[in-house]
């Protein structure tokens, strides 16, 4: 590829943002029900026309989309519309719920990687032995169990029957003055107690797929000359695995972990609903349930931006992990 490659890629990524939001925009205008019938209840024809034009619903779908897009880039994420019409900015919902989901997803990634990396290294190092078979087959089964199944079982057996941790709810890690006044659960202790079950439910299938990715690459790396070379220096096997084998084998793992962030929002949607966590996933489900399509469009835009962000991040960092990757792209 030529030096225009990064530019081309950026264009393609921007197309993803524009395309996905445009898709949603068209979709909600093609509803079997007109948005004006949902949001505008004013019986007076003049008032009704004004309300419709305030919401931009009199525009054609393209103009409607560009109105939304220009608003979005000016920082106007759109609004929740309640009959009246009363508007409530989506940005308020986002600043409240996005951090919660980010906490959840970051914990999930940390836990998944913390288990998957040693497991992947060990099963690759012991490839073909009983240890490898137990790890690989055991994890294969776990990778196929949907996380909502794990969540429901954990919530019931650990949360309700054993009562080790509360079965649902959320507590912020830092206490605000309000929390203390209203005696709401908050602080690190409560926070992590409530996060345990959701994090476990989301990370178990991830551990399985990450371990698998790493195992495959480590097996390939172990055949490389530089591993024999490292051994011939008299280094211990453990040292060789961590300092020589892990990094060159980790590209696929980290790439897929980064690109997984979006899919995790989808996973979080169900898990947050099951555990009543006020995150963005739960918020999306609520918005869809209560027909807040403008809000939905903003959420999709955020997810698409996240997708682009992590793609760019991968492009930029892959060369830091493995200098060979840069050359291969050329």
């Amino acid at each position: 590829m030529k030096s225009t490659a990064p530019l081309q890629r950026l264009v393609q990524l921007l197309l993803v943002v524009v395309g996905s939001t445009f898709f949603v925009s068209i979709l909600i205008r093609l509803l079997p029900v007109g948005l004006e019938d949902i949001y505008v209840v004013n019986p007076d024809p003049v008032g009704r026309a004004k309300e419709i034009s305030d919401l931009g619903l009199d525009l054609n779908p393209f103009a409607f989309y560009f109105r939304w897009l220009s608003g979005f880039f000016r920082g106007d994420f759109g609004s929740y519309v309640y009959p009246g019409p009363t508007l409530e900015p989506v940005s308020e919902h986002i600043t409240r719920t996005l951090p919660v989901t980010l906490q959840l997803i970051v914990y999930v990634q940390i836990v998944a990687l913390a288990f998957a990396i040693p497991l992947g290294l060990v099963s690759a190092y012991k490839v073909g032995t009983r240890v490898d078979r137990v790890i690989s087959n055991g994890l294969f089964i776990f990778s196929s169990v949907p996380s909502f199944v794990i969540a429901l079982l954990l919530a019931f057996y650990i949360g309700v029957q054993l009562g080790w941790v509360p079965p649902l709810g959320y507590a912020p890690p830092f206490c605000s003055a309000e929390d203390i006044d209203s005696a709401t659960a908050c602080g690190f202790g409560e926070h992590f107690k409530l996060m345990v079950l959701p994090v476990v439910s989301l990370s178990i299938p991830l551990i399985a797929s990450y371990t698998r990715l790493l195992r495959t690459d480590v097996i390939a790396t172990l055949r490389e000359d530089f591993v024999t070379m490292a051994a011939s220096k008299g280094l211990s096997n453990r040292r060789i695995l961590w300092t020589h084998v892990f990094r060159p084998s980790s590209i696929t793992l980290f790439t897929s972990a980064a690109l997984n962030m979006g899919a995790l929002v989808g996973g979080a949607l169900v898990i947050e609903t099951i555990f009543s966590i006020p995150g963005i996933g739960f918020e999306i489900a609520l918005a869809i349930g209560s027909r807040q399509y403008f809000a939905l469009q903003a959420y999709i835009a955020i997810i698409a931006f996240g997708y682009v962000f992590f793609n760019v991040l991968v492009d930029l960092t892959v060369g830091l992990i493995d200098p060979r990757a840069k050359e291969r792209r050329k």
């Binding site: 073909g128 530089f226 024999t228 220096k233 280094l235 040292r239 060979r324």
Partner: protein, 325 residues
């Protein structure tokens, strides 16, 4: 001089889907301290396996080794894994064929070079760095400080091989295995690297095993030569003696296959006809019989034993060259 490495009746077999593959079949070799030995053979002759097995680097579960390996008075074939490992780097070290694949592509030269020093010799970070610069100077790398910060792919092939040599030499090994150290390099760089190895060996008073497919490479750089064919040593002797009195038809064929400047340009390069025998199906007679221009009936039925002649010259042939019958 005392014996540094001695191999006795060394056999290496691999499990393959097609059966047992005998890569090395009963090799006896002796290497004295400070001596250099060239191991020569075609690819598939077992020379690389031999050098790796002598160090104990064949760790895959499909490889099986019998016979003894005694290094510096210690029997490594029965020693526990950790004892064997403790000889690596400080006792024996190895240079690999392709520096591009043998250097870790994701780590800087500096960390790869100082790693052994710090782990095996317990040097501090600063000491190790100082020694690393010394080593890079030793292998004639210009601007060593800068080289320490580079990744392998930022160096030329010749420089990479120099770096690999410096890594192998880092912990002052007594014995250096060099496995086809110049094959992956440009022709112009090959001679430089060989000269460097030769010089360093004398400077540091090391022993060296130089593994190559090219008799021309070992000619000027080793004290002794062992020619391998199908997993066996077929001719062994001091370099001068061996070149002066080639006894084994295979060695002669190898010599003829070296392209030489003094040959007429019209003359075609001689290649050895035929192929190595299938290592999973050992033949009863001489392994070279099917390709030997001087083959006789006896060669096909009776396996020749290694014969001793004057000046320690050994060969494995029923009808050696230059010996009147």
């Amino acid at each position: 001089m005392s014996s540094l490495l001695s191999l006795k009746n060394l056999h290496i077999t691999f499990d393959t889907p097609r059966g047992q593959l005998a890569a090395v079949r009963g090799v006896d070799l002796e290497l004295l301290a400070g001596e250099s030995l060239g191991v020569v053979g075609e690819s598939g002759s077992g020379k690389t396996v031999l050098s790796r097995a002598s160090m104990g680097l064949l760790t895959m579960s499909t490889a099986h080794r019998t016979g003894t390996v005694i290094f510096d008075g210690q029997d490594l074939s029965t020693a526990p894994r950790d004892t064997v490992r403790s000889t690596w780097g400080t006792g024996m070290a190895m240079i690999f064929q392709d520096p591009m694949t043998a250097l870790n592509p994701v780590r800087r030269i500096g960390s790869q070079l100082t790693e052994g020093l710090r782990v095996r010799l317990g040097m501090s970070k600063k000491e190790a760095r100082g020694r690393a610069i010394e080593l890079l100077k030793l292998v004639r790398i210009p601007d060593p400080e800068k080289a320490l910060r580079k990744f392998p792919n930022q160096l030329s092939g010749g420089m990479r091989q120099r770096v690999m040599i410096s890594i192998a030499l880092a912990c002052n090994p007594k014995l250096l295995f060099a496995d086809e150290p110049t094959t992956a390099l440009d022709v112009t760089v090959q001679a430089q690297i060989l000269q460097l190895l030769s010089d360093l060996r004398k400077e540091l008073n090391m022993s060296m095993v130089l593994v190559t497919h090219d008799l021309g490479v070992v000619a000027g750089h080793t004290d002794k030569i062992a020619v391998m064919y199908a997993g066996e040593v077929v001719e062994y002797g001091e370099t001068k003696e061996l070149f002066a009195n080639v006894r084994m038809p295979y060695t002669e064929a190898l010599l003829n296959s070296i392209p030489r400047l003094d040959q007429k340009s019209s003359g075609r390069m001689t290649v050895i006809e035929g192929r190595l025998p299938d290592p999973t199906k050992p033949e009863p007679g001489c392994a070279f019989a099917s390709r030997c221009p001087y083959v006789q009936d006896k060669c096909r039925t009776e396996h020749p034993e290694l014969q001793q002649s004057e000046n320690g010259h050994q060969f494995r042939c029923h009808f050696p060259l230059g010996v009147a019958k």
